[in-house]
Amino acid sequence: MPSDVLTQARRLRLVDLAAQLNNVAITPAEQRKSGACNVWGNSFSAAQMPDQPTITVAGIEFRTWHLRDAEPDNIRCAGQLIELPAGHYDWIHLIATGERRVEDELCLHFADHSADFEAVRVSDFWAAPAMFGETPALRSEAMHYPFHVQFGLAATAWHQRVPVTRRAALTGLRLPDNPALHVFALSLQPSPER
């Protein structure tokens, strides 16, 4: 691991999403009927996912859940409020994907009871390129269908980021009410110490 990753990793806050996971986007081949990344029941191939829960994408470390089994592995957004470890952050890093291209808003809540809406933009998971300048984070070269495994059709979850512009302690995050948006992991990048 490059030293800049180690430095970054020490400072990042990896958010625990375990209690909020509500959707299965990744399945083992024998349990592919559990997949629900879109209305057709498509899912990523678990066999092609990392076998460690902590993964690093573009120098950012993330905690993930159930990448290799058929348990809920992501939050399908329905306006959930996520409590965050309070702190001053510059960036919210996400591993997320869209059932088609998604543009929506997160609401950032702060300790002083202020709140800001920020855009979140995430590309389609189904054989699509990054439309919003994201980096691929999880990629399956096979697409699971309820009744078969389709080779040659890639599924991708993206590393996207959202800025925290307010210089105040961030305490919570309201996800959009948008079933097209799936969030697998969330890490907070602290502001440089003043």
Binding site: V39, R100, R101, V102, E103, W126, H148, L153
Partner: protein, 363 residues
């Protein structure tokens, strides 16, 4: 485009061939497929044919932008597009270019290949409606019945093959056995519980013929500006509400789907996902064209307008996907449609305002 044509090949064994006339007609070169993740097979196949004719698909399909709805249509095919009575699909998709696109149906199943071959001899690439269930290169093969479009660029009855191009992922461009092709084009496309949106519509040997005017040429910045102004005029036409077109028609549509959800009208809500695909695709293609031309012509205002149009496309995702997941129980969607509708209308207004500003820079 030229085609090769060989109705008879004396060097082949006549006994092996049989006595019936066999067709051999194919395009002089294999088409390059065109695809974007936001479009359906309608845009992707027509764009592929336009590119084969030497035209810029993004310009031809992306210059026009409007909203139009036909409330009585059943949009349960991936390639659904609302066309006013007496109008032409090509004119709807490309109102600023001379493009004729018309639906046809084979006169009889055993005439399908010869009728497609005849079009190929005329230098045209027919686009065939198919049921994916019968096509080995589609993910739905022997799994799901679903209507789709593919480009036909060769008919070879000496080898019992049809040459086809499918721009949609995973993509295919090559020979297909006649038997599979004819099964796909003559399928009844029966109801399939795995596909609530694109099954249960008979394929019936239908095909599209795209006839672009040979004089289609790239629009100058000034011509492009005029085309954009015509789009704006149509969007702002106050008569649109009655015809379900323009901003007034969009407002009426958004009110209608909110009402349909509130009263639990499942079948109306079920129509949103397939109808919205074309609307979303059109905005994505128009936005990309504005951004691209803005970059080429160094008009930052056009890039910004294009991005705002793309945002419209992306906001359609929330409406379409929430409808797709909840059409069985739509009563909870009323509030969500109201909120999304306001957001979408605001995005349309912003895109149109930025477009108006960009037009001033194009004259």
């Amino acid at each position: 485009m030229t085609v090769t044509s060989a109705p008879a090949q004396p060097q082949l064994d006549e006994a092996q061939l049989g006595t019936a006339q066999r067709e051999l007609a194919q395009a002089s070169r294999r088409p390059s497929t065109w695809y974007r993740d936001a479009v359906s097979c309608l845009h992707a196949t027509i764009a592929t044919v336009l590119a084969q004719h030497g035209h810029d698909p993004l310009e031809v399909l992306g210059t026009g932008w409007s909203f139009y709805h036909r409330p009585d249509d059943l949009p349960f095919e991936e390639f659904y597009w609302p066309v006013p009575d007496e109008d032409n699909l090509g004119h709807c998709l490309a109102p600023h270019h001379q493009l004729d696109i018309s639906w046809h149906a084979c006169s009889a199943p055993d005439r399908a290949l010869s009728e497609l071959a005849e079009l190929l001899r005329q230098g045209l690439l027919p686009i065939a409606a198919v049921d994916n269930y019968h096509l080995p290169f589609r993910p739905a093969y022997h799994d799901v019945h679903a209507a789709h479009l593919i480009v036909v660029y060769g008919v070879d009855e000496y080898r019992d093959l049809v040459l086809v191009a499918d721009p949609a992922p995973p993509g295919f461009n090559g020979p297909l056995a006649n038997e599979a092709f004819l099964a796909a084009t003559s399928s009844s496309n029966p109801a399939d519980e795995q596909d609530a949106f694109f099954s249960e519509t008979e394929i019936a040997g239908r095909f599209l013929v795209v006839r672009p005017d040979a004089r289609l040429s790239a629009l100058s910045p000034a011509e492009f500006g005029k085309a954009l102004q015509a789009n704006l005029d149509r969007f702002h036409d106050p008569a649109g509400a009655q015809q379900w077109s323009g901003l007034a028609g969009l407002r009426r549509y958004l009110d209608a789907i909110e009402r349909a959800a509130t009263i639990g009208d499942c079948q109306q809500v079920r129509r949103i996902y397939p109808f919205g695909w074309g609307v979303q695709a059109a905005a994505a293609v128009h936005g990309e064209l504005l951004r691209t031309r803005g970059g080429q012509w160094r008009v930052p205002e056009l890039i910004e307008a294009g991005r705002a149009v793309e945002r419209v496309a992306h906001l359609w995702t929330g409406i379409r996907v929430s409808a797709a997941h909840n059409w069985h129980q739509p009563d909870q969607l009323g509030d969500s449609f109201a909120r999304r509708g306001h957001q979408l209308l605001a995005a349309y207004h912003r895109a149109l305002e930025l477009t108006a500003g960009a037009i001033d820079k194009l004259s």
